[in-house]
Symmetry: C2
Subunit: 442 residues, 2 copies
C-alpha cells in the first residue's frame, strides 16, 4: 500500500470496523472539530468507509454521512485505507482483521480491550514485523489518557504501584449500594442509564477490569500477563451490611484493579488482582463518583499521580480514538510508521502466586453469643500469625442468640487468610459464611 | 550539526544548562534507570556536559559524575551536543541560549516557565524556522503530564474549562491556614520544608501560577497571552476568619488558576485569572493536599478529567524533563525533528476584560450593630443587580457594637462587584475593609 506522501493524496484515509456508539462518536468528533484536528495532525483525516452488519439501519448525526459496507475486505487490506479503526469488540473476527491490516501495511487503532489483553503479544509482534503501529488508548479507561501517560510521561520512571477503578458500571453500582440501594436495584438503574449492558456479567464479575489491568501491567511493569493469571472477584457478593461496616470504620468500598511491585527475599514480583477493597476515606480513590474511572500510579521519581475521568461512553471513548488517529495520521503523513509507539514486551518481573499476595483484611462473622467465642477465633487467627487491627461487636440483629463481629487485620497473606477461614468455618460457634474483603493499604 | 544517525555515534548527547535540584534529578534518573530509558528511547541518552557557575562545588550522587563547564558555548551550538536542556530559570541569558541552540539545529528541553510564558512566541517561531523541537513538560505542574495531555490526548477535543492548582507552595500554606495556622507561621514551615524559596514573592503573589496558566491557555484554547493580561491575586490577604467562614459554608479555600470559554452575545472569549476561591467541599480540587498540584479540564467530548500529582521537586520535575528527553531522543535518532511537537500559536479567542468575568462571590463585612444596616447593604447590592445566595450574621467578636456579616452571591460580574464594594465602603455603618473572595462554580 502506498503511503499518503507517496500517492500525493494528502489526506489520511480511515476505515472503521463497526459504527456503533463509539464509531458514531468518532464520526461526530471528526466532523465537529475537523479543522482543529487537521491543524493538529498536519493533514486532514477522513472516514472513507465503515464496516457494518446492516447497511439499511438509519444512523444519526455524522455517522449518517459515512459510506457503509458489509465486506471487511473493503477496509482490511484495501489500498485506499491508511488507518483501520477496530471498534467491533470481542475476539474474532476482530483479532484477524487487526493482524491482517498490519500485515497489509495499514496502521491500526483499536478500542478493543479483549484482544489487546488476551492477544497483545500476537498483535504487537505483527506490528513490529510489519513496521506498523497499533494504538489502543481507548481500550483502557475510555477518555483518561493512561496508555499515553504510561508510555510517554512515565517512560523515564519506574512504576511501583498502579491501582485503578477501571470499570465505571461497577463503580456506579457500588456507590449506589453505599447510599442504601440493594445490588439488584442499583444494577437495574445502571442498566436504565445505559451504564450496564443487558448482560452485565463481564462488568460485575470483574473480568472487564481484569482485562484492562492486564494491559496496564504490560505497560507499567513490562510483564506479559493475561487476566486468568491473577485473582479476580467482582461485586456480586457485596452486601448492604458490608457497606455499613465500611462506612462505620472510615472506608468506602470500591472495586480496585491493583498491581504492585514487591520484593521478597531479593526476588521482585508483581502482586496483582481485581477485588472489592475497603479504601480509607481520605484516599483519592475512595471519592471517585458515579461511573467515573481513576488510576492512581506510584513511581520512583514522580511519587504518586492520579488520573481521573469518564471511563466509557461514545464521545469520551471516541475522543481517545481520535487522539490516536491524530498520532497515527502524523506518522502516516511523515512516513515514520512503526517508529516507537509499540513497546516490545520485555521480560519483566513475574506475577506473585495468589496465596502470596499480602494486604490487611476485613472480616465479618456471625457467631453464637456465648463466652469464649472471641478467644477461640483470635487464637485460631494467631495460629496463622494473623494479628488484629480492630475488633468490634455489632448489635445483635435477631433474637436467636447470635451476634456479629467485625474485625480488621494487619497485613496478611492471602494463603494464611484462606487457611484461617477454612478453620473458622469448622468452628461450631461460627454461623454461616464468614464475609471477607481486602483493605487498601499502600 | 550532524545528527546521530549521520555521525554514527548512536547516542543522543545532552548538555545541561544548570545543575541544581532539577539537573541533579535528571542525572540521577538517567543513571538509575539508564537501561530502561534506553529501551524506551531506542538509543542511549548521555549527559555530556553541564554548565555551572562554580565548577569547584562538590555535587552529590550522579551529578558528581557530570563533566562541568562554565562556558555556555561548550553546550549551546556545540557540535557534540544534540539536545540542550535549559534548567537555569529566569529570562536572560536562558532565552538567548534557547533560541541560539535552536538556530544551531539543537533540540531544546526546558523546565523554565518564565521564558515559555513570556516569550513562547519567540521560542516557537525559532523552533519552526529551524525545524527543531522545544519540549517543556517540566515547565508546568512538575510531574503531571499536562502539556503532553493537552497536546496529544486532548488534541481531538475542544477544551471549555481548565482550572488548576498550579503552585504547590501556596497550596501547602493555604491548607495549613485552614487547620488554624497563621499565614506567617505556615510560610515559615513551608520554607523549612523546602517548599517555599527564601524569597517567596512569586509564589504567594500568584505570579508563578499565572505564568503557568498563560502557557496552558495557549495550549488549551489556542490563545496567545501573557500573565499581565489577566487578573492575578495571591494568598497574602487571606485570613483565619475567611478560612473558618469557608469551612462553615462547606468550602475549602484554594488558589486557583482558571480559564473558561464563555460565549456572550455570540462572541467567544476566555475568562481567565488567578485568584483564591472558595471551592465546594465535594469538588476534587477542594481536596488536593500538601504541596500537590492538580488540573481539572472540561472538554466537549471527554467531559471532565482530573490530573493530580507532585508539582515540584527535583525528581518529579527531573522525571518530566527525562520524559521529554526520551521523546527528543527518539526524534533525533529517527531524524524526525521539528515534526509535530510545537503547535503554532493559532489565532484563538480573546481574553475577556477583567470586569466582565463572572462568578459567585463571598463577602465579609464588619458593620455597626443597629437596625436597618442589612437593608442598606442589600439595597445597594440590588442596585447593581447582585442577588444574594446566603446571608449569615456572625457572633459579635468584640464589645464595641460591631457585628460580622457573611454573604455569598449568585454569579456576578467583577465590574458590578467592584462598583458595589466602592459604594459599600462609603457607608458609615461599614467598618474597615470588606473582605471579598470568589466562589468556584462550574
Amino acid at each position: 500500500m502506498k503511503s499518503q506522501n507517496a500517492n500525493g493524496s494528502k489526506v489520511v484515509r480511515v476505515g472503521l470496523l463497526g459504527l456503533g456508539n463509539v464509531g458514531a462518536g468518532v464520526a461526530e468528533i471528526l466532523s465537529t472539530h475537523g479543522e482543529m484536528i487537521e491543524a493538529r495532525a498536519g493533514v486532514p483525516i477522513r472516514i472513507v468507509k465503515a464496516l457494518v452488519r446492516n447497511k439499511r439501519r438509519k444512523r444519526q448525526g455524522a455517522a449518517g454521512d459515512v459510506t457503509l459496507t458489509t465486506k471487511a475486505s473493503d477496509i482490511v487490506g484495501a489500498s485506499d485505507i491508511d488507518v483501520v479503526v477496530e471498534l467491533m469488540g470481542g475476539i474474532e473476527p476482530a483479532l484477524s482483521y487487526v493482524t491482517d491490516a498490519l500485515a497489509a501495511g495499514q496502521t491500526v487503532v483499536t478500542a478493543n480491550k479483549a484482544i489487546v489483553a488476551a492477544h497483545g503479544k500476537t498483535i504487537f509482534q505483527a506490528a513490529r514485523k510489519n513496521k506498523r503501529d497499533v494504538h489502543f488508548e481507548a481500550a483502557v479507561a475510555g477518555g483518561i489518557p493512561i496508555i499515553r501517560t504510561l508510555r510517554e510521561a512515565l517512560a523515564s520512571d519506574r512504576v511501583t504501584e498502579l491501582t485503578g477503578i477501571l470499570n465505571g458500571t461497577t463503580n456506579y453500582i457500588v456507590e449506589a449500594m453505599a447510599s442504601g440501594q440493594s445490588y439488584e436495584s442499583a444494577l437495574a438503574v445502571a442498566q436504565e442509564l445505559g451504564y450496564a449492558e443487558a448482560d452485565p456479567t463481564l462488568d460485575v464479575n470483574g473480568a472487564d477490569a481484569a482485562d484492562k489491568l492486564a494491559i496496564l501491567i504490560g505497560l507499567a511493569f513490562g510483564a506479559s500477563v493475561t487476566r486468568n493469571k491473577f485473582g479476580c472477584v467482582g461485586i456480586t457478593e457485596l452486601t448492604g451490611e458490608m457497606m455499613m461496616d465500611a462506612a462505620e470504620l472510615g472506608f468506602a468500598i470500591k472495586l480496585l484493579a491493583r498491581a504492585r511491585r514487591v520484593v521478597t527475599g531479593g526476588v521482585e514480583t508483581i502482586q496483582a488482582g481485581v477485588f472489592p477493597y475497603l479504601v480509607p476515606l481520605g484516599h483519592a480513590l475512595s471519592a471517585v463518583p458515579d461511573a467515573q474511572n481513576a488510576i492512581y500510579v506510584r513511581s520512583d521519581s514522580l511519587g504518586t499521580t492520579l488520573y481521573q475521568g469518564p471511563g466509557a461512553g461514545g464521545l469520551p471513548t471516541g475522543s481517545a480514538v481520535v487522539a490516536d488517529l491524530i498520532e497515527a495520521a502524523r506518522n502516516v503523513a511523515a512516513g515514520t510508521r512503526g517508529r516507537s509507539t509499540v513497546q516490545p514486551t520485555r521480560a519483566g518481573p513475574k506475577l506473585a502466586k495468589s496465596g502470596d499476595t499480602v494486604c490487611p483484611w476485613y472480616l465479618r462473622l456471625t457467631v453464637a453469643e456465648k463466652p469464649g467465642v472471641l478467644a477461640a477465633i483470635t487464637t485460631l487467627l494467631a495460629d496463622e500469625s494473623i494479628s488484629l487491627a480492630t475488633v468490634s461487636q455489632m448489635e445483635p440483629s435477631g433474637d436467636d442468640n447470635e451476634v456479629g463481629i467485625v474485625m480488621t487485620t494487619h497485613p496478611t497473606s492471602t494463603g494464611a487468610m484462606e487457611r484461617a477461614l477454612k478453620k473458622m468455618h469448622r468452628l461450631k460457634v461460627v454461623r454461616g459464611e464468614v464475609q471477607v474483603l481486602r483493605v487498601y493499604a499502600e
